[in-house]
């Protein structure tokens, strides 16, 4: 599914998943049952902003303060992929 997620949703990492820094590979990784996802720097920043309080719109706004080029649907698709895996939950306002 590549529909992205609505900008008013508040994403939060699911309880079964967690993000850790891997000193061996020198990058953040997401760990979940039978799954490892290597994150690039932006991916790690997005996951860390998914705290259940910020909306998707808030997250995109924060990313825009840090990075020059933030493509809204790319962020939404990234979150949607994690939702599909059930590693991320979407909460309503």
């Amino acid at each position: 599914m590549d529909e992205g997620v609505s900008s008013t949703k508040r994403p939060r990492l699911a309880r079964q998943a967690r993000m850790v820094w891997d000193p061996v590979r020198q990058r953040h990784v997401l760990l979940a049952p039978e799954g490892v996802l290597l994150l690039n720097e932006t991916g790690a920043v997005i996951v860390s902003l998914c705290d259940g309080n910020r909306t998707v719109a808030d997250i995109i706004a924060e990313l825009r303060q840090r990075y020059d080029r933030v493509v809204e649907h790319e962020v939404q698709n990234f979150i949607a992929r994690l939702v599909d895996k059930r590693w991320m939950e979407l909460h309503d306002a």
Binding site: R15, Q16, V24, L31
Partner: protein
């Protein structure tokens, strides 16, 4: 260098169950000399340095290790995602709470069937009620729950009810894995292999359930490779992303590889990093250079890596041949022969093979002659008893 992501730590081969499809070795009594707590902790630390992020604690029954909580705590402190693969026998509320506090991330419980009679016959132990209680306990403690179901001739027709059970237990994941024929399962393959009709019905049920439960429960279906055209990409390739450490400290590219006529290598003698990167065992089938035809020139050689070395060995006596599962393998007729026999109408033939239960191994300290248990007198024959 490719770094491993996952390590399977088979802490012990002792197990209270007697499942006839167990992939543990037939000579279970040769593995009494288990690594100590300190040895395992050192192996975990070496594994983390090597890049391992997922630690699967299995066996045998890992709960039979009295130091399990300690081992989980060590792995957790190293930053690994810890995964307990258990029969659930011995997962008491107290033990579960200790494991939760030690940082255990995920629990996988084996289920043999959807109801007690068949389940207990397959397991060789009245375990069904304990398994359900343990599954509920896992959920109540907030763990993600996976149910592991090994599929074979005797439970494949109950798949819809097995899925209903998983749903009622609110499992987050269910792994429906057709039996992989190694160890005890290889010995029992004539009895366990399902018919094509069974497989087709099961696959339709799986597809429907995957659609119906999307977003609620993840359903992983491991195909029965005897019925597929191409072999499975065993372990994602030899020495490529996974490794296994067995109870006595031997390290293997896959949990079945102890059967192969290759030099063994142990964490008691070498550092894990050397074993992974340089040992002859891990180099032997890494990459594609070792491949014979038809693999060598096949466009799928980096998809399935020539299939499974253990399967090639079990069928042909040579682990360097193409996995006979592949329809392009010159040895494929051997698989076809077994499949043909499994699809003969065996009713009324009176020749149906009976599965032999995995033989129980006593605790090392009380060492005695291994005791075969009552047997699968229990598994239903055509009268259903």
């Amino acid at each position: 260098m490719l770094r491993p992501f996952g390590m399977l730590a088979e802490l012990t081969y002792r197990c209270p169950l007697h499942c006839p499809y167990c992939s543990n070795p037939l000579n279970l009594e040769d593995y009494h000399d288990e690594l100590t707590t300190a040895e395992w902790q050192r192996v975990f630390a070496e594994a983390r340095e090597l890049g391992v992020l997922q630690l699967h604690l299995s066996g045998g029954e890992p709960l039979l290790r009295r130091d399990l909580v300690e081992l989980v705590a060590s792995a957790h402190e190293l930053g690994m995602y810890t995964n307990l693969i258990t029969s659930a026998i011995g997962l008491t509320p107290r033990r579960a709470e200790q494991l939760r506090a030690a940082g255990l991330d995920h629990v996988q419980i084996s289920i043999q069937a959807d109801e007690a009679v068949l389940s207990d016959q397959i397991a060789g132990l009245p375990a069904f009620a304990q398994k359900l209680a343990a599954a509920r306990l896992v959920k109540s403690l907030g763990w993600p729950l996976t149910l592991n179901v090994v599929l074979h001739r005797y439970n494949l027709d109950r798949l819809d009810r097995i899925l209903e059970l998983a749903e009622s237990l609110e499992a987050d994941r269910i792994e429906l894995a057709n039996t992989q024929y190694y160890g005890w399962a290889w010995r029992n393959r004539a009895a366990l292999l399902p018919s094509k009709a069974q497989i087709e019905r099961a696959e339709a049920i799986v597809r429907a359930a995957q659609e119906r439960l999307a977003g609620r429960m993840e359903i992983i279906y491991v195909i029965p490779d005897y019925y597929s055209q191409y072999p499975k990409p065993c372990m994602g390739g030899w020495g490529r992303s996974q490794l296994t450490v067995i109870p006595n400290g031997d390290v293997l590219p896959c949990p079945a590889a102890h059967i192969l006529p290759l030099p063994r290598v142990s964490v008691r003698e070498y550092p894990l990093s050397w074993i992974w990167a340089e040992s002859p065992l891990f180099q032997r089938f890494r990459g594609t250079d070792w491949m014979p035809e038809p693999c060598r020139s096949c466009p799928r050689r980096t998809i399935d890596f020539g299939g499974c070395r253990c399967q090639a060995f079990l069928f042909t006596g040579d682990p360097a041949r193409t996995d006979p599962i592949c329809h392009l393998s010159p040895d494929h007729w051997m698989v076809e022969e077994i499949v043909r026999r499994a699809n003969d109408d065996r009713d009324g033939q009176g020749e149906q093979a009976r599965p032999v239960p995995r033989v129980f191994v006593r605790l090392p300290r009380q060492r005695q002659a291994t005791t075969p248990i009552g047997g699968l007198r229990g598994l239903p024959n055509k009268e259903g008893k």
